[in-house]
Amino acid sequence: MADADILLEVEKLAKTFRVGFFGRRVQALRGVSLQVRRGESLGYLGPNGSGKTTSIKCILTLIRPTQGQVRLFGLDPTDPLARARVGYLPESPYFYDYLKPTEVLDYVGRLYGLDRGTLRKRIPELLDRLGLSESMNRPLRGFSKGMLQRVGIAQSLLSDPDLLVWDEPMSGLDPIGRKEVRELMIDLRRQGKSLFFSSHVLADVETLCDSVCILDRGAVVAQGALSDLLHADRLESEAHFTLPIDPEPAVAALQRVAGVQLLDQSSTTVRLVLPTAQVSALTAAALSCGAQLTELSPRRDSLEELFVRKSVHLEEKSAAKEKP
């Protein structure tokens, strides 16, 4: 793939904050690398405090990285030309509360060098698309968090950017708002836009991105195509059985198959998980003990599980390191 197709490139980004009177060091980022290609949608995941916002601020020059570098459209992000093609939504955006949405967009439009005619046409369109047309002539002072979020999204789209960098786009929105934003994102992808967005709500991400980058305590713990990540770690299946009149010996027989783990059991049914390679051994065992297979499905990690597992994994590693 040509270099021109890499819209955002972050290389070994590190940031150390100094806090308090004695300048205690806080390592917010420890060598983060990632790429966003043209047309790609990359979900940036991680628990609160993992460094998502800090790295996004480094990308947009709000924060100077301690080490590493950022390239936007192949340019240094301090070049206005690089930032001209990015639409940024800050985390819980704040705008001038004395301005109306139309005025915010007008101000932003001028900073992008859009002419009056274009703005006059485009601003009402965008506000309408984000469901703000009724409040477009009211100052932002009285706006709810969700409405501010919509204004934030509108201003990020104003200049028709190729790359959208959104920090927690779903936060502050009600279920309807989330659904609308999700639809908007799907629409933007269809238009060929590249998306880079952070979230700590995994359900929002799972359906919206091609690949994810999972961050924990300032370091990338998993990165890649969503489908690879979710399958790669384990190939497992889940099996449901209806048990015979005398359940205990049957359950014991099923559990004797290598690798089987009991998920849950009632007086008449049992749910097991096992390596997919052991499925035939399990069905053989079931035949001989009188348990009846009612359901067999490949077990896929949900993103949630992947997330927790990766974080825990890292925790164990660092705990091991600290031991003498």
Partner: protein, 281 residues
């Protein structure tokens, strides 16, 4: 001016000095608009107008033939003082609010340089202060007329020179507030303003035969440092000369203006250099 065309066919003008100037203008316009919707600016303006009108009452205490003089002195002292006060308050409030309320976080990632932002903020503030000075001068000349005085060209010259001081104080306010908290910026700017107006006192004390500024080495060092880093604001005050009906040589006006603008530039450039390095976390 070259422009880039987006995939949706929009024209973005972001390169070149003209585009840069337009961004500075957009920030300045927004600053003016913000002050126009802010109680602070109109509060100070209203109080200042009342104070000037009050000088009519005050002048009644004086002998009839000195009333115009009194109003004149009062105005020449009060108008610049009020404008400087506005410069400090408005400069600090409008700049630190952008950081505290994080409005800047949505604006700076746009194709806008930090220098352009600061310059726009500065120009907006200067425009507001010019408007304040003109409004107050207008009210005051009415009061002056009422008491048989007249806004002479020399008085106008004196006010114009005071405006250089106001521009300088605005730059100082922006410098501190781009780098520190609202209260600290307010205190430091006010400090520079007060010390700047009495630098001649400090230099007299340093040149005297005795006194703390001569005898205590620490105070002597402090005095020297203050004289070096604080501009001499009395340069812009020619009301004493006016009182004595002296004519002010044009060379002096030119030199004073150059002095003020140079200091203004120093503070603005320092503000940009330091602000560019600041993390907006």
């Amino acid at each position: 001016m070259s422009s880039i065309t987006t995939s949706g066919g929009l024209q973005l003008q972001v390169q070149g000095p003209l585009a840069s100037l337009r961004r500075v203008g957009a920030v300045a316009a927004n600053t003016v608009r913000e002050a126009g919707r802010n109680r602070l600016f109109f509060g100070i303006l209203g109080a200042a107008v009342l104070l000037l009108i009050f000088s009519v009452v005050l002048s009644d205490l004086a002998l009839v033939d000195q009333r115009a003089r009194l109003v004149q002195d009062f105005g020449l002292f009060t108008i610049p003082l009020l404008c400087n006060l506005t410069a400090i308050l408005l400069g600090v409030v409008l700049m630190t609010k952008e950081i505290e309320r994080k409005t800047l976080y949505a604006i700076l990632p746009k194709p806008l340089r930090r220098a352009e932002f600061l310059l726009g903020k500065y120009l907006g503030l200067v425009l507001l202060l010019l408007a304040e000075l003109l409004i107050l001068t207008f009210v005051w000349s009415g009061v002056l007329l009422l008491r048989g005085g007249w806004l002479t060209p020399v008085i106008a010259e004196a006010l114009a020179l005071q405006f250089i001081e106001i521009m300088l104080v605005t730059a100082v306010a922006l410098f501190f507030s781009a780098l520190s908290s609202p209260i600290l910026s307010g205190v430091l700017t006010a400090g520079v303003f007060v010390i700047g107006r009495i630098t001649y006192v400090i230099s007299e004390l340093l040149g005297a035969q005795k006194g703390v500024f001569v005898e205590v080495p620490l105070m002597r060092a402090l005095g020297r440092v203050l004289l070096a880093v604080v501009p001499d604001l009395s340069t812009f005050n020619i009301s004493d000369e006016l009182l004595l009906d002296w004519t002010i040589p044009n060379a002096y006006l030119g030199a004073a203006t150059a002095y003020g603008l140079s200091w203004t530039a120093v503070f603005l450039v320092l503000a940009v250099l330091l602000f560019e390095r600041r993390d907006l976390v």
